[in-house]
């Protein structure tokens, strides 16, 4: 454990007053941006198990708690499965909870993730994305987060450290909204963001408190425990005595996911008024308005794609970027609206839905299939296990797809960029 007052000293050294009273600008990593957001959100229980590259998120939180800067309980558990199980119990009683994990830690949580979503608990978790073994890799790709997409959790991907800070605070607002009541994962690339220092403006505590009222659980568990209930009993196939059965509850969960897109945008609007920053809601366009070719990506893929737009336009390809922030629920209508005027779509995936193609590419196709004028779509697998995904890859891939689009070529095999020669 750290000595008392360490965080405060660090804060004094790093912090610079921002333009608005009570705010400060700090030079911090993506991991610490998440920690400061969790502190500002007045989280009451943190339960986590260390795993690279996530560990600094909860290390910082344990410093805050030890120093008395944050009024919360830190539960040191023996595994990620226990971390999520203990947060499920804590959240049931109506307290605000948080955890963070990566890669195999997330996979070890898998079963509990389904229970958290099925019980409709607004748990917020940071997934600091990292490749999945075998073989071992500690570097980034999106395979871990993407592999959990069918558990019922919302997933939001971030592109910079300020977005991480803002999104974590917004995530609690969205998760705890009574139209939603779902767990939310805030995902960001390991190392590329998690260990990279950027200036981040922290809001004042009063501002965050105004945005984020205390959490009220739908389970209404009273402190006196006079009216005990059991949670998640065995349900029979059909409804009984007016109570919904399994299928109705799952239908309500899916409806909540569908509603959550609008709730996210509403929360973002409110947060934007408060902070002066708006990250675009479910999707964000970059030079897309006059584009004919759209490059679609999440996290580090879309931020890298932006660096290629100038060169692509100079070579005669009118390209723009669509960043998918909300991966689950997949914002089909928002994607359709954003891409309605383009003829060609290039998707870069830092993940593979093994046996099919990149997950984001497949879902982008789903969103556009029934569009009045569906564009030509082709995707690439890039940057797995931390392999550099470069501006040259973006340019190379986009030019390939523009050529393929002319003949409407159908490629059932996946195309990988950045492999070793001869592979």
């Amino acid at each position: 454990m750290v000595s008392k007052g360490k965080s405060k000293e660090v804060a004094k050294v790093e912090g610079k007053p921002a333009g608005i009273k009570g705010r400060e600008i700090m030079l911090i990593t993506g991991n610490h941006a998440a920690s400061y957001a969790v502190k500002a959100s007045r989280v009451q229980v943190v339960s986590a198990y260390p795993i690279t590259p996530q560990s600094p998120v909860v290390e910082k939180l344990s410093e805050f708690i030890e120093d008395g800067e944050m009024d919360a309980r830190m539960i040191r558990v023996e595994s990620e499965q226990s971390a999520m199980a203990s947060l499920i119990s804590a959240s049931t009683t109506g307290v605000r909870v948080f955890t963070a994990t990566s890669s195999h830690g997330l996979l070890f949580m898998h079963e509990q993730l389904a229970w958290a979503a099925g019980t409709r608990l607004p748990i917020v978790m940071c997934i600091v994305t990292r490749a999945i073994g075998a073989p071992w890799s500690v570097w980034t790709d999106h395979q871990d987060a993407v592999s959990q997409r069918d558990t019922g959790w919302m997933q939001i991907f971030c592109e910079d450290n300020q977005e991480i800070y803002d999104t974590v605070i917004e995530a609690f607002k969205i998760a705890e909204d009574e139209r939603v009541y779902l767990p939310v994962a805030v995902c960001f690339d390991g190392y590329i963001l998690s260990h990279t220092i950027m200036p981040v403006e922290l809001l004042s505590q009063a501002e965050v408190d105004k945005f984020l009222p205390p959490f009220k659980s739908h389970l209404m568990i009273s402190k006196s425990m006079d009216d005990p209930i059991g949670l998640n009993p065995v349900t029979v196939p059909d409804p009984r005595e007016g109570f919904p059965a399994y299928m109705e509850l799952r239908h309500r969960m899916q409806q909540a996911l569908e509603r959550s897109i609008a709730v996210m945008e509403e929360a973002e609007g409110q947060f934007g008024k408060l902070s002066g920053r708006n990250h675009g809601g479910a999707v964000r366009g970059y030079r897309l308005d006059d584009a004919d070719v759209a490059i679609v990506g999440m996290g580090s893929c879309s931020s890298q794609a932006k660096t290629a737009i100038e060169a692509l336009r100079a070579s005669g390809i009118k390209a723009g970027v669509l960043t998918v922030r909300l991966f689950r629920p997949f914002p089909k209508q928002r994607v359709r609206d954003a891409l309605k005027h383009v003829s060609t779509v290039v998707v870069f995936d830092r993940d593979v839905a093994y046996g099919l193609e990149g997950a984001l590419c497949a879902e982008t196709k789903v969103a556009l299939y029934n569009a009045p004028k569906p564009p030509y779509i082709h995707g690439f697998i890039v940057g797995l296990g931390g392999r550099d995904f470069t501006t040259d890859h973006v340019i190379q891939g986009t030019k390939m797809v523009v050529a393929m689009a002319k003949n409407k070529e159908i490629h059932d095999e996946t195309t990988w960029l950045g492999l070793m020669e001869g592979e």
């Binding site: 009574e178 209930i229 059991g230 998640n232 009993p233 399994y246 309500r252």
Partner: protein, 94 residues
């Protein structure tokens, strides 16, 4: 307001203590917990806040009262007897 105790607005599966499919689950049991009020700390000390039997019961079948009472759906698992710090609960054959 979403309230999961209300069937119309519930979003999670919630159960209340009630009779099971094949009648009272308590009728299955082989052993029943019996509380010795002379040993129960709640009865010995007015300031005691023990209630461990109530807290640990997986079926919410122990009341949070002085003395604690065992309700009719108890299946006789014996957790309360095992957890009681004062050994005030014994499992007796039905």
């Amino acid at each position: 307001m979403v309230n999961s105790r209300d069937p119309k607005s519930t979003i999670a599966a919630v159960q209340h203590p009630t009779e099971g499919e094949a009648g009272n689950t308590g009728t299955w049991r082989t052993f029943k917990p019996v509380i010795d009020e002379r040993k129960c700390i709640l009865m010995k000390s007015p300031k005691a806040r023990c209630h461990k039997c109530w807290l640990y019961c997986p079926e919410a079948m122990v009341t949070r009262t002085r003395p604690p009472k065992i309700l009719e759906y108890c299946k006789g698992c014996g957790i309360c007897a095992a957890e009681c710090t004062h050994k005030a609960i014994t499992m007796e054959k039905e």
